[in-house]
Symmetry: C2
């Protein structure tokens, strides 16, 4: 008896159906990220003047549910975590919503050889198989990467990505890899100095993980520059006095990212304000991006209303939704995933 492997756009049937579920009906990704754990603990800690590690699980769940409940009906997908967010929100998710679950532990550990080098760790007592069984449509893995980190650190990170990628291929669940650059001297990323280096760092990182050995289906990537330090954005609400490049350089960085990416890619907001992220998205989509997987830029101010459930929901249903809608409007210019060069010549 023959059991043909069903392939559409070169994808096995499970990956194909689930990838489609992450996107809207036109093939563009309008996704919400609410998988924050460490950063959400810190946000709640600041608001309640308490230490982040004393923030209760129930507090995380309350915020995550308020955010997810308001945005899920608009989004093509929602990224959450399997510990707090998913259990707190599964009943408000439509079965047609693409659900992504984070598979990494929050944060990172320091490399044994260098405390500023970052090692990622997978969640304990959780797996790609459990992600699939639990009814999610994609595995998300956040990986820190710096092209100049030690060979040992880079190998450690690549091993994790390869392991998860292989498991995702076997389970026919899309692998969404989030690549996050950082500084090797422990300094802040919000500086002009880092902004100058960011295009090359992001593009090199994308190039590294575009290797087929990692089996990545969709890349979640930082915007490859900082509009705060871009000449033409100096006078915006988010602009800084120091500028390190012009918009032409930023556009070039986006194009180089697109050239380096061997799969569809979406941008993340890493906590910038919504005004800046809207501009990021315009530029990214113009260069071949397929949309966004946006977190705090949409919902970070909900914490001002913490812990009042009604007030948080009201904020999310008004400001939160309005932010998300602005992103969706910009997203009509995104590249449908099946028009990415990886798939475009494999039309069924």
């Amino acid at each position: 008896m023959d059991h043909p492997q069903t392939q559409t756009y070169g994808l096995p049937s499970g990956t194909y159906r689930r990838l489609r579920r992450l996107a809207d009906s036109t093939g563009r990704f309008s996704m919400l990220a609410v998988d924050q754990r460490g950063s959400l603990r810190r946000m709640i800690g600041r608001k309640t003047e308490s230490a982040p590690d004393t923030v209760a699980a129930e507090s995380l769940r309350r915020v995550k549910r308020a955010v997810a409940e308001a945005i899920a009906p608009m989004a093509s997908g929602v990224l959450t975590d399997p510990i707090y967010g998913y259990p707190a929100s599964v009943d408000v998710f439509s079965p047609n919503l693409g659900v992504l679950l984070a598979n990494e532990q929050t944060g990172y550990t320091s490399a044994p050889t260098d405390e500023d080098e970052r090692h990622s760790r997978l969640l304990e007592d959780w797996s790609v198989e459990q992600t699939l069984e639990a009814g999610a449509d994609a595995v998300k893995l956040l990986i820190y990467h710096h092209p100049e980190a030690s060979a040992e650190t880079i190998a450690h990170q690549k091993d994790i990505v390869r392991t998860v990628g292989t498991a995702c291929s076997t389970s026919q669940i899309p692998f969404v890899l989030e690549v996050m650059t950082y500084t090797l001297d422990g300094s802040d990323k919000e500086t002009a100095a880092f902004a100058r280096r960011k295009p090359d760092l992001v593009v090199q990182t994308v190039d590294t993980y575009s290797d087929p050995e990692f089996s990545v289906d969709l890349l979640k990537v930082e915007f490859p520059a900082s509009l705060k330090y871009t000449e033409e954005y100096e006078d915006t609400a988010f602009g800084r006095e120091t500028t390190v490049y012009s918009r032409a350089t930023v556009e070039d960085a986006c194009s180089r990212l697109d050239d380096a990416a061997s799969m569809p890619w979406v941008i993340l907001s890493s906590g910038v304000d919504i005004e800046e992220f809207i501009e990021d998205l315009r530029l990214a989509n113009a260069a071949g991006g397929s949309g966004f997987l946006c977190g705090r830029a949409v919902w970070k101010r909900v914490i001002d209303h913490y812990p009042d459930r009604q007030s948080m929901s009201h904020y999310m249903e008004t400001e939160g939704r309005s932010n998300f809608r602005e992103l969706m409007d910009v997203n009509s210019s995104a590249l449908p995933w099946f028009e990415h060069p990886r798939f475009a010549d494999r039309h069924p």
Copy 2:
């Protein structure tokens, strides 16, 4: 770290999301069955005057695709098989369509002790886990059952059901069990004699597999009587001269079926004409049924147009869709799955 098992309506998150995907947005099941293999080979064989076992796989795929392509956009779910139907149709299935895959081999083998007793067999080189990975939303298993079969045959059948049920629970994929009665003397089911026995046989079978040890999430069941032999239907196109009971008896059989079923249930058409199946569905839904999983009653006449691809598609897009729409109209009276007593007191 705690990983709470997410439960909604008492269901783990994967089962919950996938069960919802099988139903329409109101919780009712309007599902197409096109998983026929043996019976489809026989239909094509009759049309082409060739032996069923000489019918090519490509012929099965062609019919299955024509049927699925026309009906899938209307249906809440489509049941097909992993060998011919799914590979031939996955690209025309919306990611929001509930997909069910048959896990049994077509037909049955005779019991070693009695050639009229039927043993089911699982597909070789296929599994519940592969069903999940391939992107399907439910496992369907057809099981033949006769309450008076030998203990050995009944144990054989129960073993298979238990094995599949356990695997489905582990994988958090809904288990749709199709229970099919038969005659122990090898005689035809289309007789007045069988019609008389059918209510008790079907109700007893449903009662047997309602035991929680089998982990069934949704039952696919024969209509528990035959309207052909029902007094009030004598003068219809499908009525026979001999009648064995009145509609009141049929209604009582439906109620007894509903009482016996410890989970939502839908009816199958087992090849009756559409006119009869519409009446079956009215009566079943009135007794607490949650809709239909209907095959040949919708599409069997497509074979008249075989092998012409265009002519088959035209038939399906007109007559086929019209048949399905009639069933959908009747289905507004079906019981949403979450209002079944199993779930109704577990509202989240």
